[in-house]
Amino acid sequence: METYYTGSEEETIALGERLASRLPRKGVVLLIGDLGAGKTTLAKGIVHGLGAAEPDEVSSPTFTLVHEYGHSPKVYHVDLYRIGRAGELESLGLDELLDREALVLVEWGERFPQVWPEDHIEIRLRRLPDERREIRIE
């Protein structure tokens, strides 16, 4: 387990960029944290670090549920904030996404633990009282 601290949005993006090289080309990363913890911000850095898109192009997938970036490597940015039950995941085509040669970043995915492959990575984000972010990789 490693813990990082970032003091601004830019630093969180920069951390994501550095982490990107250590993440698998095919795999699942759960981004876990409350509203405003910095999940989408870290995703911007990871997607950019992989060369799949510019940070500004990575926006919240809450409404559309899945955003897709790049070709090789390919990144899916998934947001399950609006999903109520695990059964509803089926129509999202999540199984199919997980089979593809792609890195899948998932926000609000921890509520459905049975869905993820055993070797998935968890990144926990927390907003500290002084506005820094604590980011732990497990």
């Binding site: 509203l35 405003g36 919240s60 559309t64 549920l65 899945v66």
Partner: protein, 356 residues
């Protein structure tokens, strides 16, 4: 005929020559989604499937037309939820195949712009080019230049949350139910908009881009620093008793500081939107401003837009055409039909379809 199924609504409409609405039917799915605090994709596609046939039939019946009298069938191809989009696209293809009609693919955002274009034309006051269009809803916050052709150029968009999404998330956090926009808009009138000094987003790079995640985080911080558990529990209980409380009922379970927060939040969102609208209109030498999408129904936004010295006239859709509907899809398809821009049966749903 227009068909729209990109998100919440199953909608069909018959529009004559891109300007006269003969019928516009919207089967809102809000009732289905309400308990979940958002759109649920599986429910969405299942509900679309259930509603599409009666909605199209009713649109024809109300227009007093038969399918074979249609010049074309237009359908939203994206952006939106793939499963939901597919219901509309597949049905539109079937109608076109059965009656040998041209099929036209329309971008949902282009539809929102044309909701306003249609009404302006109908009122005999067509929109002058170039126009600046802000499409603002739960899923979108985009600025476009709308020029003759029509041609579109994207000038700015949100880098994180859409404006309507920020409303929904703040409402969910404080237990005001879904959707968040209408209720926050109404309750904001009872609060002091200067009470909570939120800072405006400073954009590096394109100054016409938007960001609402900092504001969302600031609201979370404000909520965390107070003990609101009693009023939040009271609102949950109210929603459980009555899914559509009146303003008076909401006011009875909402403290003055929370009303002040809502008013300050709303003022900040409006400021973020209108500042960029003014700057973008200036930059392109706009001769008209179009504000469209669900958030364009926000009363606070409309009042502030009317009050501000903007460089050209501002056009809003009427409430029925602000939220998702199919009349706007048929209207957006009209110029395409005239240019022969039809789609073939390989047309497919594109979740992230771009307008420009």
């Amino acid at each position: 005929m227009g068909i729209e199924t990109s998100c919440d609504e199953t909608a069909a409409a018959v529009v004559a020559e891109g300007q006269t609405i003969l019928s516009s039917v919207v089967a809102s799915q809000l009732g289905t989604h309400f308990p979940y605090g958002g759109v649920v994709p599986e429910l969405a596609s299942r509900e679309h499937l259930r509603a599409i046939v009666p909605v199209v039939r009713l649109a024809l019946e109300r227009a007093g037309k038969r399918l074979e009298e249609m010049a074309a069938v237009a359908v939203t191809a994206g952006p939106g939820l793939v499963g939901s989009l597919l219901v509309g696209i597949t049905y539109a293809k079937a109608l076109c195949f059965a009656r040998q009609l041209p099929l036209i693919a329309v971008n949902h955002l282009e539809g929102h712009i044309h909701a306003v274009v249609l009404e302006a034309r109908r009122h005999g006051r067509p929109i002058d080019y170039p126009a600046l269009a802000l499409v603002v809803s739960g899923g979108h916050t985009h600025l476009f230049e709308y020029a003759e052709g029509p041609r579109y150029r994207m000038l700015g968009r949100t880098r994180d949350d859409a404006a309507g999404e920020a409303y929904d998330k703040v409402a969910k956090l404080l237990a005001f139910g879904y959707p968040g926009g209408p209720i926050i808009d109404r309750l904001a009138a009872y609060g002091d908009p200067t009470a909570v000094p939120f800072t405006l987003a400073r954009m590096k790079g394109n100054p016409l881009d938007f960001s609402f995640s900092g504001l969302k985080t600031a609201v979370v911080r404000w909520v965390e620093s107070r003990d609101l558990s009693a009023e939040i529990a009271a609102r949950r209980a109210l929603l459980a008793r009555n899914p559509r409380p009146s303003v008076e009922e909401w006011l009875a379970v909402t403290s003055q500081p929370t009303l002040d927060l809502l008013a300050s939040f709303q003022r900040t969102v409006i400021e973020e939107l209108l500042r960029r609208v003014a700057a973008a209109a200036e930059a392109i030498g706009a001769r008209a401003i179009i504000l469209s999408g669900g958030v364009a129904s926000n009363r606070g936004l409309r009042e502030e837009a009317a009050r501000r010295p903007l460089p050209c006239p501002v056009f809003f859709p009427s409430p029925e055409l602000a939220t998702d509907n199919a009349a706007m899809i048929a209207a957006a398809a009209w110029p395409k039909l005239q240019r022969g821009q039809t789609a073939d049966f390989s047309l497919t749903a594109e979740a992230g379809l771009k307008l420009a």
